[in-house]
């Protein structure tokens, strides 16, 4: 993952120049959104996962996941991840992606959107990240007549709640009452709401892994600078051990998320092997987010609890991202039931398959 990669390098360089967390945290408003988004769009990154013939960058899945890790490392507050996912979803059904920001859903287990035979869309998706900032929504819906369909629709066709995530990013309940989509196409055979949840969960796992890497860097740097009792607090063993634990949680997150991304990038379909990888990643990375954020805050003390300090841009997103596309508990119940249904002696062969 650390090898130089032109796609990742392009993303990193734009984010560093136009969405640097420190600079953004000092900004009085969101005026930086416009230039950052324009640069990302100009570089083809927002539609990286859309094949060229559908108007996108045609980038490998693995490279897109690596970009998502950078999205986490920079605590990106524009819908780059969401637009990537939306473009990817539309491309599953061969729908070309429009320009501009998109959001993607449903992102909560159990939400149902229904397409009537006349092509009108109804239903509520409880919490779609960045819907409020998106011009279009890419959605997975069920046809009343049966079967899954991919839907592209203008956000203006929906009623949105004015919700915000813990990080302050838009997080909206989106309701349709007989709304008219821009495009509707059948989802490919075998592609359903689960597939979208898995892809979204993998994306959020990569973002959380990146954010954990960032807070590890912040906490280590702070511990080396901050002097108490006449030495840098990094010299206290209790602080060292806390940071070692943070490194451990970060390492698990990087390994689990990277493994899930690799599994999706190399799989033919969203099969059981992908389910094990992605469910495990979302569970374990979510746990790491909880632990890791707590440790980073402990190390940074009072300054880390202020709006002035950049830490909250990462920790508030870590907390929020845990809940998108299935939280730890929900994935764990599903994974636990799968394991139980297979018999005890089937567990090890399942784990050792890769």
């Amino acid at each position: 993952m650390e090898d130089t990669n032109p796609v990742v390098d392009a993303a990193t360089s734009i984010l560093r120049d136009l969405a640097d967390p420190q600079t953004v945290n000092r900004a009085k408003d969101n005026a930086w959104h416009g230039p950052a988004w324009a640069a990302l769009e100009e570089a083809g990154l927002t539609l990286a996962w859309v094949p060229e013939k559908l108007g996108g960058g045609g980038v490998e899945l693995g490279d897109g996941f690596a970009v998502l890790r950078q999205v986490g490392r920079f605590a990106v507050a524009v819908p780059l991840a969401e637009t990537l996912l939306a473009g990817w979803l539309l491309a599953r059904a061969g729908i070309p992606s429009p320009k501009g920001a998109m959001a993607c859903g449903p992102a909560r287990e159990g939400d149902r959107l229904v397409l009537a035979p006349n092509g009108r869309l109804s239903g509520t998706a409880r919490a779609i990240p960045f819907a409020g900032d998106a011009k279009h929504l890419a959605l997975l819906a069920r046809r009343e007549s049966g079967g899954a369909a991919v839907v592209l629709i203008e956000t203006a066709q929906a009623r949105l709640s004015d919700g915000r995530s813990m990080a302050g990013d838009p997080l909206n309940a989106v309701t349709f009452e007989g709304a008219r989509p821009v495009a509707v196409k059948d989802a490919p055979v075998g592609f359903d709401g689960d597939s979208l949840m898995l892809m979204g969960a993998a994306a959020r796992s990569l973002q959380m892994a990146g954010a954990l890497e960032a807070i590890l860097d912040l906490a280590v740097a702070y511990a080396n600078e901050r002097v108490a009792f006449e030495r840098p607090i990094a010299k206290f063993q209790a602080v060292q051990h806390n940071l070692a634990r943070l490194a451990g949680e970060t390492a698990v997150a990087v390994a689990a998320a990277g493994s899930a991304a690799d599994a999706i990038a190399n799989a033919q379909s969203f099969d059981e092997a992908v389910f094990l990888e992605v469910a495990s990643a979302k569970i374990r990375v979510g746990e790491a987010a909880t632990e890791g954020a707590a440790i980073a805050h402990q190390v940074l003390g009072a300054i880390g609890f202020t709006q002035e300090h950049v830490l909250h841009r990462f920790t508030r997103r870590l907390w929020a991202w845990r809940d998108d596309f299935g939280n730890e508990s929900r994935w764990a119940v599903r994974l636990g039931n799968l394991v139980a249904s297979k018999s005890a002696d089937g567990l090890w062969p399942m784990l050792a398959a890769r």
Binding site: M1, E2, E213, L216, D217, V220, A221, A223, N224, A234, K235, Q237, V239, Q240, H241, L243, A244, R245, A247, G248, E249, T250, A251, V252, V254, A255, A256, G258, S259, A261, D262, A263, N266, L276, E277, A279, S280, A281, I283, R284, E287, E328, S329, W331, A332, V333, R334, L335, G336, N337, V339, A340, S341, S343, A344, L347, W348, L351, A352, R354
Partner: protein
């Protein structure tokens, strides 16, 4: 400066999965034949079996990464990984050869005299040789460089005097690799003055006394040296310079599958006792544990890939052992909680209880052996640039 933790996803190559099938078939045959039983009474903690170790050696699964001229197979580190994890999960009785295969052999290959290599390595590969590790002493544990057991130069060799403790398998061992003081530490370098030796346990002047563990098992020993003579060619590496040799070998020891799978049977028995349709609490508990062990395994496999590629991922390996041993240590407690409402009377319940009790009792050692949690976190902290 940013901290880069690298864990590239690694898919085990096809030859590894082919080997895995061979190992599973072998283990199934041996269980069928009664060579060992994969349960608490059969010796779940890696029991000692001359018959089993010889059969494993005959398959070419000991020293499998070593040069052919020393009896090895020159197979990959990843293939060895597969054999190790399958043996561990099957609770196979590997105690006789495991330490020799994992640690002692590689140290001898790197630092041993040609005569020692030619003499000992092929016999390790045949599953005939048991090694012990003589590091800790009554006055030095985690602080290896405080060792005081002396090796004094004499004609043609060295005379060893002193005591090692907590020496696992010393009562079975044919050899011991020990750390002995050959010079006093210097002002500039307190780690100076220690030398590694291969000790032949048949040497006159060596006494092994048992130290029983809290489970009642005999694994630990006290090893007393009284003018025990070591020939010169039993020195491993540089005289007075063992400190330079100590860390690289530990990356192997720290990141392997045995560092998070030692109580894995508890998870298997938990799944069995909760049955095919667990309640929400049971399902969530199993799901989290499976996610955690899956993530650990993927991390450990990734480190194996780095070792395979000739890297020395010291910090990554320490992290695997830190997070892994804490997980395997806590597993019995989590399983106990989750099984609290499982059916009270059933054959599965009895088996679960038996495994749980055993794992609970051995759990304390998991974060002590081969580098304590505290030592590991110090290594990680150094890697982060905090020391």
């Amino acid at each position: 400066m940013s901290t880069e933790l690298t864990f590239d996803p690694l898919r085990l190559p096809p030859e590894c999965q082919q080997l895995r099938r061979e190992v599973r078939a072998f283990l199934a045959e041996e269980m069928e034949a009664g060579t060992f039983a994969s349960n608490v009474r059969g010796g779940i903690d890696g029991a000692f079996s001359e018959e089993f170790s010889r059969k494993v050696g005959a398959r070419g699964w000991i020293g499998m990464t070593w040069p052919k001229k020393y009896g090895g197979q020159e197979r990959s580190f990843l293939e060895r990984y597969v054999v190790t994890e399958e043996f561990r999960v099957a609770n196979a009785p590997v105690r006789l050869h495991f330490v020799a295969d994992r640690q002692s052999g590689p140290v001898i290959i790197r630092y041993g005299s040609e005569r020692i290599k030619a003499d000992i390595l092929p016999r390790i590969c045949k599953g005939e040789v048991c090694f012990a590790i003589g590091m800790s002493e009554p006055g030095s544990g985690s602080d290896l460089f405080a060792a005081s057991t002396k090796a004094t130069k004499t004609k043609g060799g060295w005379l060893i005097n002193g005591t090692k403790v907590w020496t696992s398998s010393a009562h079975h061992a044919h050899y011991l690799i020990g750390l002995f003081r050959t010079s006093p530490p210097t002002k500039e370098n307190r780690r100076h003055g220690l030398t590694q030796f291969v000790v032949d346990m048949k040497t006159p002047g060596i006494t092994v006394n048992p130290i029983y563990q809290l489970t009642g098992q005999h694994d630990f020993n006290e090893v007393v040296f009284e003018d025990a003579f070591m020939p010169d060619d039993h020195v491993l590496g540089e005289v007075d310079g063992a400190w330079k040799q100590a860390t690289s070998e530990l990356a192997y020891e720290r990141s392997g599958p045995e560092r998070f799978l030692e109580t894995f049977y508890v998870l298997t028995e938990l799944v069995r006792v909760l049955g095919p349709k667990p309640d929400t609490r049971g399902a969530e508990g199993i799901g989290r544990l499976v996610a955690q062990v899956h993530a650990l395994r993927r991390m450990s496999v990734s480190v194996a890939g780095m070792l395979h590629a000739g890297k020395e991922p010291v910090v990554e390996a320490a992290i695997v052992k830190d997070v892994g041993t804490i997980w395997e240590q806590d597993l019995p407690n989590k399983a106990r909680d989750l099984a609290a409402f499982a059916e009270e009377v059933s054959a599965n319940r009895a088996s679960f209880e038996e495994h749980l009790a055993y794992a609970t009792m051995i759990a304390p050692k998991l974060t002590i052996q081969g580098g304590t949690t505290e030592i590991l976190r110090g290594i990680i902290a150094r890697g982060l640039g905090l020391r």
